[in-house]
């Protein structure tokens, strides 16, 4: 009789143990969601290497869960999976913050470069208005055309910023600034040599 009671107790304990070894669904879902959030915040673009490792962590966690799921119920242990889920979630949150920070930095860099280019082009256009006609009207007209082309290119930079193409926008803005400064220098040199020209009023 006593032996029967003992066996029933052991089986009850086993059933209780197997009932406790369930996959940590909430932690897994939270980790999964955190990775998606990190991806949406631009982690794959701004911290691509860390993001690849984060996907590795997520994959390791899922493998571990699948491994435990495949075991006999009494032998399942989701402790490691839980730990991996916690690490994945924490890492995803870190990357989300870092990606957002890098995105802001890139946006700031592109916007700053755009403003600097705008200032240079405005200065060039002001100089063009004062440019001496000199012997070669074609040269003046060329400078005017170049300055107008630079002004139009600034719109491309703004469009790139609007599309979130910050690196391309910054590089193009810097190119515009460099070119605008070169055109300004050309006009300043001409102004220094011969002074200001007077406006031409005839039509042809």
């Amino acid at each position: 009789m006593k032996i029967r009671h003992l066996l029933v107790s052991i089986m009850g304990a086993c059933l209780l143990m197997s009932g406790c070894a369930q996959p940590p669904a909430d932690q897994i879902n939270a980790a999964d969601q955190a990775v998606k959030d990190a991806q949406q915040s631009g982690a794959a673009t701004y911290v691509p290497d860390d993001y690849a490792k984060l996907e590795g962590l997520l994959s390791a966690m899922k493998t571990e869960v699948a491994e435990q799921d495949g075991k006999f119920a009494l032998l399942r242990d989701y402790g490691k999976a839980e730990q991996l889920a916690a690490t994945t979630k924490a890492e995803a949150e870190r990357l989300k913050t870092e990606a957002a920070q890098k995105l802001e930095e890139a946006k700031f860099g592109a916007t700053q470069a755009h403003h600097a280019a705008q200032a240079s082009v405005t200065s060039t256009l002001e100089l063009v208005a004062k440019a001496p006609v000199g012997k070669d009207r074609a040269a003046l007209q060329t400078i005017k055309t170049d300055a107008e082309a630079l002004k139009a290119s600034l719109n491309d930079v703004q469009m790139m910023i609007d599309k979130g193409q910050y690196l391309g926008a910054e590089t193009k803005a810097k190119a515009i600034q460099e070119k605008a400064d070169a055109v300004s220098h050309e006009i300043e040199t001409a102004l220094a040599k011969i002074g200001k020209g007077k406006a031409m009023a005839r039509k042809k």
Partner: protein
């Protein structure tokens, strides 16, 4: 007896130490630290090669495997195994190290290939930009290209910037686009100026010139020939060349005049419609031409009807052969301009009604045709 016991104790002690030594020598760590360090080093190299951006699939596979193995390494950090025991973790690390090394080698080679290609492409585009700029400058046709040279220059600058940042793929993309812009510039020049290389068109211009000279001979009068490609003005009297001067044209003079303000100098048969002496012109002396003539009006209206000329544009007028106002105003918007002493001579030798024939070129081998030929040969070569 006691001595025997102490010998036995010592022997047992030595045996124990020996056994411990043998055991320790036979034991190994599950994950050899030098292997872990080597993989970490490979990961850093892959980071420097921007593997996650340039070979995302390869890096993703490496990173996933590395993360998985690192988790196992951490879990088995305190585990010691017998040397002869099978070690799956070590084997997996070894395979990852070999795979990582292969990826590093492949990406390094790929990066170097791209670097060389990007450098070569930038040099090619720079050479082509120089060729176009030189030829365009030689025939004063920079304005035909409008904003295109600036756009090309900006792309070239971006290509250089990306190259310096080690972003060779983006550098190649930018210089590819610059190259396409250059091709468009060359096509535009051929389209706008191709008539200077057209034997039919040149034959037509030569015929116009012959007829003007014949008229001069027949009427024993003056006639003026202006060639835009040669930038020359020649005065004929009774069919004989009297003088020839270099001229400047409108700021876009090489083009065919289409409407007011385009800076082009018209081509056609005109006559002096008025002489403007001192005080009547700001340009020292001026010979007003009867532009637009009937043919100019017909062409203008036809083009505007077809929508090739905006409805807001006018045909223009006030085309003159004139002198220079002053050093700072030495300019023209579509006229033919001479230096003042030469203008003075010409002014005195022509009358109202004197024919003025303006043609694109007198010779098949003119400066514009040569420049176009040079461009088509050299842009293909580079």
């Amino acid at each position: 007896m006691i001595r025997g016991i102490s010998y036995l104790t010592a022997a047992l002690g030595y045996a124990g130490v020996l056994a411990l030594g043998v055991s320790l020598a036979a034991c190994v760590e599950t994950a050899p630290p030098e292997m872990v360090e080597a993989i970490e080093s490979l990961d850093r190299e892959l980071l420097q090669l921007r593997a996650a951006e340039v070979a995302p699939d390869d890096y993703s596979a490496f990173a996933r495997q590395w993360v998985t193995l690192r988790t196992r390494v951490a879990a088995e950090e305190d585990t010691i195994r017998w040397r002869w025991e099978p070690n799956e973790l070590e084997q997996a690390l070894r395979e990852l190290q070999a795979e990582g090394a292969k990826t590093v080698a492949r990406l390094s080679e790929q990066q170097e290939t791209q670097r060389l290609a990007a450098a070569r492409q930038i040099a090619d585009v720079e050479a082509r930009v120089h060729t176009i700029a030189t030829q365009v400058s030689a025939i004063n046709s920079r304005l035909i290209l409008a904003e295109k040279p600036v756009e090309t220059d900006l792309l070239l600058k971006q290509a250089r910037a990306f190259y310096e940042q080690g972003r060779y793929d983006q550098s190649l993309q930018a210089s590819d686009r610059a190259s396409l812009h250059l091709a468009a510039e060359s096509a535009l020049l051929q389209r706008e100026l191709g008539r200077y290389a057209s034997p039919d068109r040149i034959a037509q211009w030569q015929r116009m010139v012959r007829e003007t000279i014949l008229w001069s001979k027949k009427h024993k009068a003056s006639a003026i020939i202006v060639s835009k490609a040669e930038r020359s003005l020649t005065l004929y009297r009774s069919g004989r060349k009297v003088l020839s001067y270099p001229v400047r044209l409108g700021f876009n003079g090489i083009k065919e005049k289409r409407y007011q303000g385009d800076g082009a100098t018209p081509e056609g048969r005109y006559r002096v419609a008025g002489k403007r002496g001192r005080g009547q012109t700001q340009f020292y002396r001026a010979l007003l031409l009867d532009y637009p003539n009937q043919e100019d009006r017909r062409r203008f209206l036809n083009e505007r009807k077809k929508g090739r000329i905006p409805a807001s544009r006018d045909i223009g007028g006030q085309i003159e052969i004139h002198g220079v106002d002053n050093e700072l105003m030495a300019q023209t918007l579509g006229c033919v301009m001479l230096e003042n002493p030469q203008m003075a001579v010409l002014f005195d030798r022509v009358d109202n009604g004197t024919p003025v024939t303006i043609v694109g070129a007198l010779l098949e081998q003119n400066a514009v045709a040569r420049a176009l030929a040079h461009l088509s040969v050299h842009l293909d070569e580079i």
